[in-house]
Structures are given as C-alpha cells and as structure tokens.
Amino acid sequence: MHDAGKIFLGLGVFVGLVGAPVWYGLGRGPGAPPELEKAVEGPRCVEPTEVMRASHMQLLDQWRTAVVRRAEHVYVASDGRQHAMSLTGTCLRCHADPAKFCDRCHGYVGVEAFCWDCHQRKRRSGS
C-alpha cells in the first residue's frame, strides 16, 4: 500500500466526475414541477386527467395508427363522447399553445417530443 493516498484520491476524483450529474441534481433539489396552462375550452379532456397524464403517448399512438393506417377518424372515448382524432384539430383546441403545455413537462423530464417536426403547433383554422 505504498500509493494508497494517490489511489484513493484518484478514486475520489473518478467518482466525483462520473457522478457529477447526480451530485448536481442533489445539490439543486427537486425543483418546482412545471406549471401547465389550463385548457382553454371544456372542463374535461377526451379521457380523465389521470389517464391522460399517464398514457397520453399510448393514446396518441393509437390515434396515429387508427387514422393513418385504418382510415378511422373518430375516437369514441370511454365515456361515450366522440372526438376527431387529430393532434392539431382536437388537442390544440384546448391546449392552444404547446409551448405552455406539452413543452413544459417534456422539458422538465428531458423527453423530446418530435411531433412538431411535421405536425402544426398552430390551432387549426376551422375548428
């Protein structure tokens, strides 16, 4: 154990560097959860808020597959209400500005959504 000091110093530096994101996060604390803009229209989303919060990505996948691949455009929600399956036409009617809704959570958790590479962020003219 001639070089114990150097070894432990090296290990310390290594752990410090590798764990830097963790230490940084711990130092900053959990941070305030993002504040989301309230829906512009209507008190209810197509499905209950808890379902949307947990599974909106599965719902959007289901919508995409139905519309693009099966030419089905109507979503009959679990409460029986009917909705046009359209990100820009239906979702944006209430969540009018994705920057104040989608982006805030997605930015907070660091999950990039590439919907807007093609889909329009502007609310549709006729709806």
């Binding site: 691949r69 030419a71 889909h119 549709r124």
Partner: protein, 258 residues
C-alpha cells in the same frame, strides 16, 4: 381447512384477479371508428382526360391546389424538387408511343402525372418498414411516421412518382397551412389520393380544382362501382395506362388526344 377447499379458494381468487382487467377492458372501453361521412369506395381510380386538359395551355390549377393544400415545399434546388401532381412531356410519360417520325410538338405535349396507385405496387414490395402500403381500397398510402428515408421505393417506382425531402421542407413552403402536417427532412412523399379528404366525405383537391375552373379533365371515383362517373368513362372510352407491360396495373388512366 381441507386441501380440496383450499385449492378451490385459491382457484377462485386467481380467477377473480384475472377478471378485473377483463371487466375494465369490456366496460367503458374506448374505440376508434371511421367517420360517418367517409366516402365509400372499393377501388379508387382516376382518369386523366388529356382531350380536356390540353385545351388549357399552362394551366396549373390541380398542382397548385394539391401542393398548397398538402404543404408541399417549393425547393429552390431543382434536384431537391418535391411533387405530388405535375406535368411532364408526353414523350417522357408514354415513351412507347414515340416513333422516329413523331412531331416535336406532340412529343412535348404537357401530360399530368401523379402516383398511379397500382394494383401491384413495386414501391410497397421493397419498403422495409411498411411505411408505404396498399390499402384495401387500392390507395397506395404513406405513413410518414414509419419512413426511414431509405428511398428503396423511389428506386422501385417505375413512374418517378415519389419525392424525397433532401432538406427541411418547412422554410420552402409558400404559405404553410395549419390544416395539414408538413413532412420533415429524410422522408419520402407522394400523392395519396387525398385520403384525409376521402375520410371525411370530400373528393381529392386536384379533382375539385379542375372542376372549379370548369375543365373536368380529372375524373375520380370508385372503379368497382359501375354507376360511378369514372366507371362510365373507363367502360366507354379508349383509355390507356403508363407502362402496362410491367404488370403493375396502374389505376390512373389516360384518355389521350385522338
């Protein structure tokens, strides 16, 4: 407790646990269905009546309506052009009709071209992700979500109907509409016979634009329905198709000038 009743209880309990998600799925389940006003069609087809189209020199009504309605970009670099429906010279659309004696004026006749929505589409055969596929109603459809940009379909299509987004199309879209998505760099696009309109009871943009200017050179409808206008034309007129020898069986038909 007897061994027998214990096993019965365990069995019942397990069945109960399994029944919960089943009941949840059956009761109050959501579902998807076609819009009630969707146009019914078993085999969509189009006839391009060049006898009418050629009477309108320089007309671009269909191209403009389609490209505007689908946010098709007008790329500056001609090698990066994106097109859904456009005009080509007759000699390039129907090369087999050209003889050494065909007058130059005939060879140069502008002829509408678009995706042929083949019965046997080579693009679909080669697509590795099924991003392009043939629907039950005959439309060769694109799912831009699945397209990985390999361009096999572009190579396979004998009609040059497909375009690739070599660059981000958004800056090159004149007057981007909020009613239709754009595409992104690295995906292939083409005419889809306006599936988004058929699904809500409307006919393709090009057809409506052509009728709108009082021409009616583009006739669209269900070829399997004997009562449709497109059927009437197909069954009464001398129509032709592009490269029939390939066996792709295009469903865009042409009535060429007599």
């Amino acid at each position: 407790m007897k061994r027998r009743s214990f096993l019965e209880l365990v069995g019942l309990g397990a069945a109960g646990v399994c029944a919960v998600p089943v009941a949840r799925a059956l009761g109050g389940a959501s579902r998807t269905e076609p819009a009630p006003d969707a146009l019914p069609g078993k085999r969509w087809a189009m006839v391009v009546d060049e006898r009418k189209c050629l009477t309108r020199d320089g007309c671009k009504a269909c191209t403009e309506a389609c490209h505007r309605g689908h946010n098709v970009p007008a790329m500056k670099d001609p090698r990066h052009e994106v097109k859904w429906i456009w005009k080509e010279q007759l000699a390039d659309v129907f090369p087999e009709r050209v003889t050494p004696y065909t007058p130059a004026a005939v060879k140069a006749l502008p002829t509408m071209v678009l995706c042929n929505h083949c019965d046997n589409p080579p693009c679909v055969r080669v697509c590795p992700t099924q991003a392009t596929w043939k629907r039950a109603d005959g439309i060769v459809m694109m799912d831009e979500h699945r397209c990985i940009g390999c361009r096999y379909c572009i190579t396979a299509c004998p009609y040059g109907a497909r375009s690739f987004n070599f660059e981000d199309p958004r800056p090159s879209i004149p007057g981007e509409l909020a009613d239709y998505p754009t595409r992104t760099r690295g995906v292939v696009e083409k005419c889809t016979f306006c599936t988004e309109r058929l699904a809500v009871g409307k006919r393709p943009l090009c057809v409506e634009a052509c009728e709108g200017i009082g021409c009616g050179a583009l006739v669209f409808g269900d070829a399997s329905d004997p009562g449709s206008p497109v059927s009437a034309l197909l069954r009464s007129t001398d129509v032709t198709r592009r490269k029939p020898e390939l066996g792709t069986s295009p469903h865009v038909f042409y009535v060429l000038r007599g």
